[in-house]
Symmetry: C2
Amino acid sequence: MFSSIDPRSPVPLYEQIAARIRVAVAAGEFLPGDTLPSVRALAQSLRVNPATVVQAYRDLATDGFVETRHGQGTFIQEVSGSKRDQERSLQATELVRRLLQDAARRGITVDDLSRAFATETGAQVHE
Amino acid sequence: MFSSIDPRSPVPLYEQIAARIRVAVAAGEFLPGDTLPSVRALAQSLRVNPATVVQAYRDLATDGFVETRHGQGTFIQEVSGSKRDQERSLQATELVRRLLQDAARRGITVDDLSRAFATETGAQVHE
DNA sequence: AGCAGTGTATTGGTAGACTGATACACTTGG
DNA sequence: CCAAGTGTATCAGTCTACCAATACACTGCT
């Protein structure tokens, strides 16, 4: 199930793991209340250090995606769809702010970004 | 003129320098053919290592913003407005692609990004 | 209490980005 | 030709993110 981890990718292992779990939850492979594989089990399965899995789980917990209970395990969190939407929206805003800062530093205008965004996503943007 | 360099900023010094020059050119403080301060002169003026200025100049040269001639100096490049626009557009696309990848990794949808982009920039986005 | 399962905390090693120091190579003017 | 200006190349130090290794702490079951 978690076979798609690439140690040579520039993407950190813990991010790959967290992303994989997010997708699995979205796909309904996990339901609220389900327990994720234990830190050690998943680490062994992925041939990765337990601490790396811990970091992935911690990120998910920070997002409220998952709840960890010391000594018990890590559980898929029950959250309302609206709250999850709100969380994603917040993160999206953060990402976009970073984009705007990066762009400004390089002398790229908002218009340039709008056009690029439109072509890359297929969406239409206008003032 | 280049007093706005902050060593404690998380933004690398060479990026700050390059950005400052881009702005200066855009503001018309430099005209095509003008020579930039020498690597050593600017380095001393900013209390920074010459190699740091070199990196800034190299980045600008890679963008075609500037041309460096060994033994002579670094010159503002004469480029047509359209070519410069095209270059900015390319960089914008690259930034947006990175944004989309980052977002995908975190389970953030294009819609989330569109909305965030719209609110952050004031632009209107719709399908 | 003890054991086997779970997550947690601390520490160290590795790799890459950033910056500085130094020596090198090219060009121009006298 | 040479001196003084210019950019260039290479190496070393520092810092940070990432990952691994190890020891620790909590929970539930018997």
